[in-house]
């Protein structure tokens, strides 16, 4: 808990001391990636259910917020809880279906991928989402419209991340969290011990989906535009899983470390070899493979190992 306080304090002070727009933007993007990773980590790291299509919850939250604002004139802040609720509902739907039929491991991963694609095609064909054209939010800067200054956005995403940190901390130390981790480690044994496996997993996916949806809402407010491939495409799903795996699955700080390292890696490679597009991403990919190769337990796992 102490770590969470220190972290919050440090990041909250950043806008005071840092004026560089690009550094602050980087911090916001790192926090955003962290949130996505934390959401994924709840289901995968703590729950042991790997999802390849987590964008399905992100997109639902994003579209919910965008549609409520653009088509029904809702206030952005009012749309936030509605979008989160809708995201959780999507989690409940997909979770209920998948867990009821006992999908696990790669099968579960692939079914989430399929759902993300289904939603993507739907979004492309259903009129109220604007279809392929996407939805643009009207530019109305102001705190009451959730269209803030950079520092404002930083505090909002920080708040989301802190909530996710608290949830992760709770999962590590609570009874529910113990059930969840038991299911992850050995579902049959957990069931034999009386854990309601279905309910526990359902709870985890709903929690995970809710946080993902919050990330979607944030994206829409920050970039003011959403379309089916941004909302439900593989980019978000991949971003959500990269951080926790690199940073350390099933740990509270894993997603934070992972998002930090990956984004910094992206930034440092970005400037490389300007005139040869693609080289920077080759380096990124190579470093990624190297990291997995030498740090198989993720950063957090390795750090913990070093401590002992």
């Amino acid at each position: 808990m102490k770590k969470i306080f220190i972290f919050t304090g440090l990041v909250a002070l950043m806008p005071v001391f840092v004026t560089s727009g690009s550094v602050l933007n980087l911090v916001v993007m790192i926090l955003y990636a962290t949130l996505l990773g934390q959401a994924w980590n709840i289901l995968a790291g703590f729950g042991g259910q790997f999802s390849f299509g987590h964008a399905v919850f992100f997109g639902t939250g994003a579209y919910a917020s965008a549609v409520l604002q653009a088509k029904f004139g809702w206030n952005a802040w009012a749309a936030l809880p509605a979008a989160i609720a809708l995201g959780a509902a999507a989690g409940a739907f997909i979770g209920a279906l998948s867990f009821r039929y006992g999908l696990r491991g790669s099968y579960f991963a692939l079914v989430t991928l399929a759902f993300a694609e289904v939603f993507r095609v739907l979004a492309n064909n259903v009129p109220f989402t604007g279809m392929g054209v996407g939805l643009m939010l009207k530019l109305e800067p102001g705190a009451r419209n959730f269209q803030l200054e950079r520092a404002g956005f930083l505090y909002v995403i920080l708040a989301f991340v802190v909530i996710a940190l608290l949830i992760s901390h709770w999962l590590k130390h609570s009874r529910y969290g113990a059930w969840l981790q038991a299911v992850r480690d050995n579902e049959a044994a957990a069931s034999a011990l009386g854990v309601n496996v279905f309910r526990v997993k359902l709870g985890a996916i709903m929690l995970s989906a809710a946080l993902m949806a919050a990330g979607g809402v944030f994206y829409v407010q920050y970039f003011q535009y959403i379309d089916p491939s941004i909302a439900y495409g593989p980019a978000v799903s991949i971003e959500a899983l990269l951080g926790p795996i690199v940073g350390g699955l099933g740990s509270v700080w894993g997603p934070v470390l992972g998002a930090l390292v990956l984004n910094l890696l992206g930034e440092t490679t970005r400037g490389l070899v300007e005139n040869a597009p693609g080289v920077n991403l080759i380096v990124y990919g190579v470093v990624l493979v190297a990291m997995i190769s030498f740090l198989p337990r993720g950063l957090a796992g390795t750090l913990r190992g070093l401590k002992r």
Partner: protein, 400 residues
């Protein structure tokens, strides 16, 4: 530019520079952000866009830089938008911090929406090179300037010109079928066409939407065969367009005309070169240079001489965008952002190779911007409409 103008420019530059003390001769360069998706799925267009921009900066500097600022040179700060808005925004932030006077880019509409907004925070002038979505200039952002036409302008022009084409030929076409890609540009174009074509006596028999990418057009062509429209209107990107046209040829389907609107491949020299037989006869209403302007042909020659490069709209629209900026800086006599903004707002620049006439920005849109109609004839692309830019008579309906 002709020899006399070049000579005058050179001597003026020489005179101006020699009037300054030697120490001041080397002016601080004016930094310009050149932002395009050079990796990811838009890489092809992004790289061509970057080519146009960097060629322009080279030419501007070779011609003496910004004369009113003592020959100050333009310096390109290259950025990669990685085919997604997130990366584009990050680059704008970096460019802003590097002290750019303006940003040119970012090719794709979705990316442009985000980058123009990010630039607006810093009152940073952002010239949109291509990005055809009309929302880009409809948000009231004072820093956004689009030199070329938006898709509404292009589509409306295409409708008007199709009407002319059909009427002059004695109205041989009565039915139309639209095949469009599913994202912003395809859907928007198809919607406008569906709404307005019936009023011109053209029945829209069917509208087919397809994904990006589409792996196979056999069934779409089957439908086209079954519906047998007089005119087929494709609105998609290069890869799909090429596959579609090839499949049409394989199946022996030949409508009276293939009339594209912002056709992905139709007005592409690369397409004409690689799909010679299938390409002939295709009509396209698209971005194009002024065929009556010798400078455009000189530019084309230079690009053709580069290995594996083609003189596409990405190249010359960026080329002109940079020159638009240079002219604005020149008239502003300053590299400061507010001054450039004001200068762009009042721009009347006509020293370009596009068929737009003198520039005039209204709410960030150059209202003179318009597309041209081209037709592929004898393995070459010729402008057929409007008359003032005509290189060749349109052949409508097309006989193989």
């Amino acid at each position: 530019m002709n020899k006399r103008r070049q000579f005058l420019l050179n001597t003026t530059a020489l005179a101006a520079s020699s009037a300054l003390p030697l120490g001041v001769r080397a002016q601080t360069p004016i930094k310009v952000g050149v932002l395009h998706p050079v990796t990811g799925f838009l890489a092809y267009s992004g790289n061509l866009s970057r080519l146009g921009a960097t060629m322009a900066i080279e030419d501007i500097n070779k011609a003496g830089g910004i004369k009113s600022l003592g020959g100050a040179r333009l310096q390109a700060l290259l950025g990669d938008a990685q085919s997604q808005p997130q990366a584009g925004v990050a680059e704008v932030e970096k460019m802003n911090e590097a002290g750019v006077s303006a940003v040119v880019g970012a090719y794709a509409s979705a990316i442009c929406l985000a980058t123009t907004q990010a630039a607006a925070k810093y009152n940073l002038p952002h010239i949109v090179d291509v990005g055809v979505a009309d929302q880009i200039v409809e948000r009231g952002l004072k820093n956004t300037f689009r030199f070329g036409p938006g898709y509404k302008t292009v589509t409306e022009a295409s409708i008007a010109q199709l009407h002319v084409l059909n009427t002059v030929a004695g109205k041989p076409a009565k039915t139309v079928m639209i095949v469009h890609e599913e994202s912003l540009f395809g859907t928007g174009t198809a919607n406008l066409l569906s709404q307005q074509l019936p009023a011109l006596g053209l029945e829209v028999k069917e509208v087919i939407k397809h994904a990006n990418p589409t792996r196979d057009f056999s069934n779409i062509v089957l439908r086209i065969k079954a519906v047998n429209p007089d005119i087929l209107i494709p609105a998609n990107y290069y890869n799909e367009y090429a596959l579609l046209v090839r499949t049409l040829r394989q199946q022996g389907v030949q409508p009276k005309a293939i009339y594209s609107v912002l056709g992905g491949a139709a007005s592409s020299y690369k397409f004409v070169k690689e799909f010679a037989d299938a390409a002939n006869g295709v009509l396209d209403v698209n971005h194009w240079f002024n065929p009556k302007d010798k400078r455009a042909w000189a530019l084309k020659k230079r690009v053709d001489a580069m290995p594996d490069q083609f003189f596409t709209y990405e190249v010359y629209m960026n080329y002109t965008a940079l020159h638009l900026l240079a002219d604005a800086i020149e008239r502003a006599r300053s590299a400061k952002r507010e001054d450039i903004l004001r200068s762009l707002e009042s721009s009347k620049w006509s020293g370009h190779v596009m068929p737009y006439g003198p520039t005039q920005f209204v709410n960030g849109q150059n209202i003179g911007a318009a597309p041209l109609m081209m037709q592929v004839q004898k393995n070459d692309i010729k402008v057929v409409l409007p008359r003032e830019y005509r290189e060749s008579e349109p052949v409508f309906p097309w006989k193989a």
